[in-house]
Amino acid sequence: MASAALQQAAPTLDVARVRADFPILGTEVHGKPLVFLDSAASAQKPQAVIDAVRHCYEAEYANIHRGVYYLSETATRHYEDTREKVRAFINAKNTREIVFVRGATEAINLVAQSWGGANLSAGDEILITELEHHSNIVPWQMIAERTGAVVRAVPTDEAGEFLFDAFEKALTTRTKIVAVTHASNAVGTVVPVKDVVAAAHARGIPVLVDGCQGIVHRGVDVQDLDCDFYVFSGHKLYGPTGIGVLYGKRALLEAMPPYQGGGDMIETVTLEKTTFAALPHKFEAGTPNIAGTVGLGAAIDYVGALGHDAIAAHEADLLGYALERLRGLNDIRLIGTARDRASIVSFLTDGVHPHDVGTILDQEGIAVRVGHHCAQPLMDHFDIAGTVRASFAIYNTRAEVDALIDGLDAVRKLFA
């Protein structure tokens, strides 16, 4: 990290070195070098993460907490050390505010069921947006069904922008919580969550931010955002699957009932009555994903060492280049053209269905995602069934954008 100081002045990413850290990028698909443009669905893993998970199982694995022997104590230390890494990564006040979950989906379900179950009643409103992933829609619909509350969505426009005026207008005296994405997984729109939180708080309304697509592209400071809940998945942040984070302000988490019951989340249990453990363990019933947590810690170390500014600059360059090249093709229609966006491009090809585009690109070794991207309400807004989506990460290059453009040429030739 000797060069860290130099990099601060002009943050750049040594992409060749980054690529060398990801073993899978050296593989071929259908005889072509892999061009992986689907990191928004799940990112590939650097050697450091793979090694951390492997080392955990090979040398430092045992069940955590309450073990009095060396391996259990070591595993517990690594597990809890990762909690501190996450806290520092998002600048939470206290490690008690960091709850390990399976992923963002489980985190939102936890808040919807636990906070929602305790705080929502008939006629209350849950405010989301049209930009949300299904995971920030369905859990709210489920708790609404149970409590009689209503889910309302802030509309978007033809560019897929977050409409702040429409958002403010949608806040009513009945709004009990706002749940909003940090960035749209389907079209890349970045939501000004700090302003959203300020507007909601001015009316006494708490805010949950779905940070899956936010935290991978930019630094997140939950105290600066002042959001009440921030959730994200480890596997999109170059970590393992099956591990994610729920950040919640301590006072809110303290007041919430447990989500699941079981071991590790209790203080004392008799057959008549149980008292629950303190935060964060109250929300971590059962043996957690120990190796996954350790892997997430390694991923955070890895991303932290690269630096948010360098990552943001690199991804902005790729996004700009991809947009420039795609705009040069007259048979491509971009879906979602918001001003502030994550490194995600969604588009349609004249006369060729996204699934056909995806299959043809795959034969060229190019992995893109096609379909509705688990954002059907947004697809309905654009009156389309789905799109082709390319998402760019730390290891992608301009040459891979060129490969995508060449791949689209192959599509055009086949369907000519």
């Binding site: 259908h30 006369g351 060729v352 269905h353 996204p354 699934h355 056909d356 299959t359 043809i360 034969q363 096609v370 379909g371 509705h372 059907q376 697809m379 069934a385 789905g386 192959a410 086949l414 369907f415």
Partner: protein, 149 residues
Amino acid sequence: MNDLRELYQEIILDHGKNPRNFGKPEHFTAEADGYNPLCGDKVHVYVTLKDGVVTDVHFEGRGCAISMASASLMTEVLTGKTEQEAYDLFEKFHELVTHETDFQGDEDIDRLVVLSGVRQYPSRVKCATLAWHTLNNAIEGEAETAKTE
């Protein structure tokens, strides 16, 4: 590219671009909706059954080249078949797009064999079978309605 040509044969591209029997017919006796949650594609199938014979099949919808071509070819192949023949063909077609098969000498299957390329693309099999499942539901729905009367 050769593998792709195998999947996207001219006849598929043709039926995909210019689907036959596309649109809502004036008369029909059964209909059903089909939906592929994987891609959000929708298809609506209209069937006319007369004395146990499929006399007309039409469809509407949006989808990929594979699903549109499969629906289009289906409407042509099934017209004139009895309900039982249509069902047998549906079963055979499913076999054709999921397994190595040998239906030599079957004229109808010969027409559909252009779709067998999807076997190599597990994620695309549903594209090829969507319209067929939908038609099957339409016919079964009709049969059930007939029973209750």
